[in-house]
Amino acid sequence: MDKTVNQKAWFLVLPVFLVVAFSAVIPLMTVVNYSMQDTFGNNQFFWNGVGWFKELLDPSTDLGGRFLASLGRNLLFSAIILAIEVPLGIVVALSMPREGWSVAACLVILALPLLIPWNVVGTIWQIFGRPDIGLLGYVLNHLGLDYNYVSNDVDAWITVIVMDVWHWTSLVALLCYAGLKSIPDAYYQAAQIDGASRWAVFKAIQLPKMNRVLLIAVLLRFMDSFMIYTEPFVVTGGGPGNSTTFVSIELVKIALGQFDLGKAAALSLVYNLIILIVCWVFYTVMTNAGSERPAKEGVA
């Protein structure tokens, strides 16, 4: 039997093709296009080749200096919040009850910060930390601490970090709690029989069994904190000076503040690339961690 030639089948693929084109390919290509050009407004564009990319990676230029400085701040910020949120989340998960009504209560309380819109979180802390009307700022200043996140770099950093810890530690805790719940009772009973101390149980059973959820938690928290925009923008606006200007804030300043579409597009692409690479590294590590299967040969 001859194959029927029916080119109409292509129409079935068309909707997907259109959706992907308009949602991903065309916008991305537009950005790639912009990143190669310079504009002085009025929709006049001039070819610039890879000029912006060269500048981005050269700290002596204005663009490169700003990008690399904000990238450094962003990496420092991610490192600090990971160093706080991961251990804290583990501690919270370990101290949560295992059964009874209090489990539900704990879960609800933990989930609350996660449900608050990001700019509301920013607003809450912006007001909370104000020395004149904010509870935290007012109390600290009356205790004799000179706390002002608007004028002091360190105070601004502390505020942004504490805010992020408040907002996201729950996520780590919930993931760890799920990991802990999946450990069969027999492990704890065996450890008891083996005379293991609390610390030995944590090291030998709980931490290894939380391995995978912790990787996911670190991935999620790294990605989110690396892309952070709303909260610090609402609280500090990137200030004082540039001290809390993270990459996404810098990007918005360049794209919308200065309307330098070419520079902003180049920065976006590099930013995107960094995130993709980190994602890929995590993915590889995670799939390798999961592929440890028992050897086939028997032990008799």
Binding site: A186, Y187, A190, A196, A200
Partner: protein, 361 residues
């Protein structure tokens, strides 16, 4: 190394005030001698794992006491009881090597390093784990992992008893035999008290010298495999042990006779007059009833099918409405759909309300 006494031991997960019928373990008093190999046998939910967990201290009893060598250890925690336990699913410390796994209980107890190494080496030799000592334990097969779990119990020189909670569930059938013979060998070598929980009668009967049969939270019989087979103390034991299980038929019993539908079966012992308020049944194993050509003196049965087990054939028949199994004598061919049953009077037992009635010789 210890004798274990259970004194009026009972447990309810609903607390001590729960109604007696709801107790997961009804009061039991028994003694397990030092160096014995015991099997706790029974269907799921019969309380055998509860009993095991009471002994290991994972569960604290609602009532009663547990004595090790006469010393009351009921209030002691698991750590202080010197118990080793092997669980249904292998418990392995993932990040450690096989050697570190074996050393873990000793390290926790602060044993000197040289002694730890010596013990680990000795136990690894016994369990044939020596070639794997430096390998990550997660990468081994299920039976090797169970050996490691067992090894963690054996490395301690002060173990009072080794408890097994259905340890062969996840093991491949051909390896089950090897592992079970290993256990028996270890039992002989170490003179350890071993308690083995299982719902598999073959496992129980081959492993243990005393089998404790449990049913509905109660110990219904404890004895050697031969005792359980020849003289079940409870209809449940008769039915649960043996394949096919014991035939149980309602009957009227008086003196040396049991009557089924007016047909008389002779009994070896004299049962006198049994109380009429109790449900009277006779029990006889299929091995002790032969099918024969129908005859006027024999209880007649309708043949449903013949099961050929290779070495022996069993006829599945019906007596009245009751299902019944009987041996087909070698070389016997069944003439039609009905047959007569020849009972061996020495092996016909009488039960009143499921409990064995001892007749007078």
């Amino acid at each position: 190394m210890a004798r274990i006494d259970l004194v009026d031991l009972a447990h309810s997960y609903g607390g001590n005030d729960a109604p007696p019928e709801s107790f997961a373990l009804k009061p039991v008093t028994m003694t397990w001698r030092q160096g014995g190999a015991y099997a706790l046998l029974g269907p799921s939910g019969c309380g055998k794992t509860t009993l095991l967990n009471l002994i290991s201290g994972i569960v604290t009893p609602s009532r009663g006491k547990i004595l090790f060598d006469g010393r009351d250890i009921t209030p002691l925690s698991t750590q202080k009881r010197n118990i080793a336990q092997v669980f249904q699913f292998p418990v392995i410390y993932d990040t450690m090597t096989v050697g570190e796994n074996l050393a873990f209980p000793l390290k926790n107890r602060g044993v000197a390093k040289a002694e730890v190494n010596a013990r680990v080496k000795q136990i690894a030799d016994l369990l044939d784990l020596t070639p794997y000592l430096n390998r990550k334990a997660t990468r081994l097969t299920a039976d090797a992992k169970q050996k490691i779990s067992l090894g963690r119990g054996l490395v301690r020189s002060d173990v009072a008893a080794v408890l097994f909670d259905e340890p062969l569930t996840v093991i491949d059938p051909e390896l089950k035999w090897q592992l079970r013979s290993k256990l028996k060998a270890l039992h002989r070598e170490f003179d350890l008290t071993m308690i083995y929980v299982t719902h598999d009668q073959t496992e129980a009967l081959t492993f243990a010298d005393t089998v404790v049969v449990m049913h509905d939270g109660r110990v219904v019989q404890s004895g050697t495999p031969a005792e359980l087979f020849d003289k079940p103390a409870h209809t449940f034991v008769g039915y649960f042990i043996g394949s096919p299980g014991m035939n149980i038929l309602p009957a009227e019993v008086s003196g040396h006779e049991a009557r089924i539908d007016g047909h008389v079966i002779g009994l070896r012992r004299n049962y006198g007059v049994l109380p009429s308020s109790k449900k009277i049944e006779i029990g006889v194993r299929p091995e002790f009833v032969d099918v024969a050509a129908p005859a006027s003196g024999l209880l007649s049965a309708a043949i449903e099918r013949i099961d050929d087990l290779g070495r022996i054939q069993f006829a599945r028949v019906r007596v009245g409405n009751a299902k019944f199994a009987a041996r087909v004598p070698p070389g016997f061919s069944i003439p039609g759909n009905t047959a007569g049953l020849i009972f061996n009077p020495a092996h016909v037992h009488v039960y009143a309300d499921s409990q064995l009635v001892e007749g007078v010789a």
